[in-house]
């Protein structure tokens, strides 16, 4: 119980840090978002002082209130789910935009990451079990895929499968001409079809890391005494591999899963941009290119929140599968 509370307390601190960062960043930065937006507007014509105060109101930077008052105001607004109005998608609110794009991202990244994790664990387990086999020698190749930037791999896949062989669509999240969002098979099939290439990109570029980690842990675990004991008892090799070695070797990978989520999210933001996938990454870029600061902040918060939430979940799961962590606390 104490361990649980410690964990939760840590994530509360992390959340507070993210919120605070989000609040102070625009205030620390040399450029003033209001000035930047005004200079953009000024290129198109004269800007009246009213426009300035309107933008200040919109971004919430007009108030002459002391900074701590703004800070608590901001925290209250965030907890009420009020992120302001989006400029890029005017008149939609930031909350609406995020609500519309988040499911796409979670679906794509979530499924792709889980596939990649499971695949990596299974392959790494086999490679560690048969050290020196072709699969083991293949691992450096997969780690090379890891140093390939996500978006470049996406570009290459898109070039071959989209432009040259026309097997997969070039962009989008579903076929906007023949289907409409809803819970019917046409739409779901279309989503799967359009999501296959982005998901493949994420799997190819992240599976190597899981494989390597699992393989190395497997090698270490196999030199433990209880493996020798299991051999001596005459257990079947398959049983030793799965229930004796792999079960223990997988623990660091599970712990690493949470940490790596942040990287996966980062990589897929750019991947989404390449595929014009209607997820949160594309929305973030849209926000950046139209200087939509309230949307940017909202998206950053939501991404941080999801990563923190997933981390907490994995941490709790980890205490369930590894009793040692509970004993140590």
């Amino acid at each position: 119980m104490r361990f649980l509370l410690q964990k939760v307390a840590f994530y509360v601190v992390a959340l507070w840090a993210a919120l605070t960062l989000n609040f102070f960043l625009p205030r620390w930065m040399p450029g003033n978002p209001v000035d930047m937006m005004l200079s953009k507007l000024a290129q198109k014509g004269p800007v009246s002082p009213e426009a300035r105060s309107a933008i200040e109101l919109l971004l919430g930077t007009n108030s002459s209130a002391p900074i701590w008052e703004q800070y608590f105001d901001y925290l209250g607004k965030v907890f009420a789910g009020d992120f302001g109005v989006s400029v890029a998608y005017f008149p939609a609110s930031v909350g609406d935009v995020i609500g519309r794009t988040l499911p796409w991202t979670i679906g794509l990244i979530g499924i792709a990451t889980v596939i990649s994790f499971v695949l990596g664990i299974v392959l790494g387990q086999l490679a560690g079990w048969k050290r020196g086999s072709w699969l083991d020698n293949f691992i450096p190749v997969t780690t090379m895929f890891q140093s390939v930037p996500y978006f470049w791999l996406a570009l290459i896949l898109l070039f071959f499968f989209g432009s040259m062989w026309r097997l997969f669509p070039l962009n989008g999240g579903y076929d906007v001409y023949t289907t409409s969002p809803g819970l019917d098979w046409d739409f779901i099939g279309s989503v799967l079809y359009y999501g296959a290439l982005p998901a493949l990109t994420i799997v190819i570029s992240s599976v190597g890391g899981w494989m390597l980690g699992m393989r190395n842990m497997m090698v270490s675990t196999l030199s433990e005494d209880y493996i020798l004991t299991a051999e001596a008892k005459g257990l079947k090799p398959r049983r030793i591999m799965t229930t004796y070695a792999a079960r223990n070797a997988v623990l660091p990978s599970v712990a690493g899963f949470a940490i790596s989520l942040g990287f996966v999210v980062a990589g897929s933001i750019v991947t989404e941009v390449v595929f014009s996938y209607p997820g949160i990454g594309s929305a973030l870029l849209q926000a950046v290119s139209s200087n939509d600061y309230s949307l940017m902040q909202g998206i950053f918060l939501v991404i941080t929140l999801s990563v923190l939430g997933a981390n907490l979940l994995v941490d709790l799961l980890y205490t369930l599968i590894d009793p040692r962590t509970r004993a140590r606390a």
Binding site: F10, M29, P30, W152, L155, S220, V288, T304
Partner: protein, 319 residues
């Protein structure tokens, strides 16, 4: 350690001599390939720009394939892709180097010093790096760089370092924690060595392989991060990096027009350089964890054992 009876300078010399012998990885094919590949790309970045023309010169033969005096063809506006590639290599490597060094210092400070000092300092450093670790880096970088319209390479590197040091700090902390409780460190402390000396002479040499591997990771991370950032159009302004090349290629519809000579080389160089660094890291990893040392078939063949003996070895190995 009986350093108290010895001349300190002599002891320090002995310590570095020992560490030097231990930290130099054996020259395996993996390491050789990594060094060769990485060295070649670095050399290209260092010397390449001296031999090519101005990468921004506009020409009237746009989007032509390799050949006709252009080794890698031209961009949409007729710029020499090969010249751009040379400058981009220099730019990306510069960012990688700066971030690698910065990350090394930040992670060593927060990881090693905190873990060695212990107490509230360790608690707060550890909390700080864990919080930094769970806050997703790239979105934060995107936000920060979108506030600053004109960025120098140095600023981009700084932002990448600030968002990327936490993972290394955590790894270093874990290793330092196990080191500081070893007997020889306790002995050094009891014999009256000053804290900075224990840290610098007793603990740090043992951390060198780990530091090296973390620095290599930081360089890969930085180059990938910068490429992603530039690809989104948020990189350093007015500079050539692999990321900006890809950005212009994407915006120039290189993909749709089939201009592979434009978008393949920069990405390939990122991948090759990353692979080279990973190969080097494999060798460093084998120093940190001897269990991972090469036991592949190729190595075993060199032992000149008979088939049955080899089978025996494989069996023992798999136990």
């Amino acid at each position: 350690m009986t350093t108290t009876t010895q001349d300190p300078a002599l002891a320090a010399g002995a310590a570095t001599a020992v560490s030097r012998r231990v930290t130099l990885p054996p020259m395996t094919p993996k390491l050789a390939a990594g060094l060769l590949l990485g060295g070649a790309i670095t050399l290209f970045g260092l010397l390449g720009p001296l031999f090519v023309g101005n990468p921004s010169t506009v020409n009237n033969i746009g989007l032509s394939g390799p050949g006709n005096g252009f080794i890698l063809g031209t961009t949409q506006t007729g710029q020499d892709v090969f010249a751009q590639l040379a400058y981009a290599t220099r730019g990306s490597l510069t960012i990688g180097l700066i971030v690698g060094v910065l990350t090394l210092f930040l992670s060593a400070f927060f990881g090693i010093v905190g873990a060695y000092a212990g107490g509230w300092l360790d608690e707060s450093f550890s909390l700080f790096s864990n919080v930094m670790l769970v806050i997703p880096g790239l979105p934060l970088i995107i936000i920060i760089s979108s506030y600053v319209p004109d960025k120098s390479i140095l600023l981009v590197a700084l932002v990448l370092a600030i968002t990327g040091w936490a993972g290394s700090a955590r790894v270093l902390r874990g290793f330092t924690l196990s080191l500081r409780n070893r007997d020889y460190v306790a002995a050094a402390r009891v014999s009256g060595e000053k804290p900075w000396r224990v840290l610098g002479v007793e603990i740090l040499p043992n951390l060198i392989p780990l530091l090296a591997s973390q620095a290599v990771f930081a360089v890969i991370f930085a180059i990938l991060g910068e490429a992603g950032l530039s690809f989104l159009g948020l990189g350093a302004s007015g500079s050539f990096t692999w990321g900006t090349m890809l950005y212009y290629a994407q915006n120039g519809l290189a993909l749709r027009l089939g201009a592979w000579w434009w978008f393949v080389p920069p990405g390939l160089l990122i991948a090759l350089f990353g692979a080279a660094l990973s190969l080097i890291n494999f060798s460093i990893d084998e120093i940190i964890n001897p269990k991972l040392r090469n036991q592949t078939r190729a190595t075993r063949k060199k032992w000149n054992l008979s088939k049955s003996q080899l089978k025996q070895v494989v069996k023992e190995d798999e136990l």
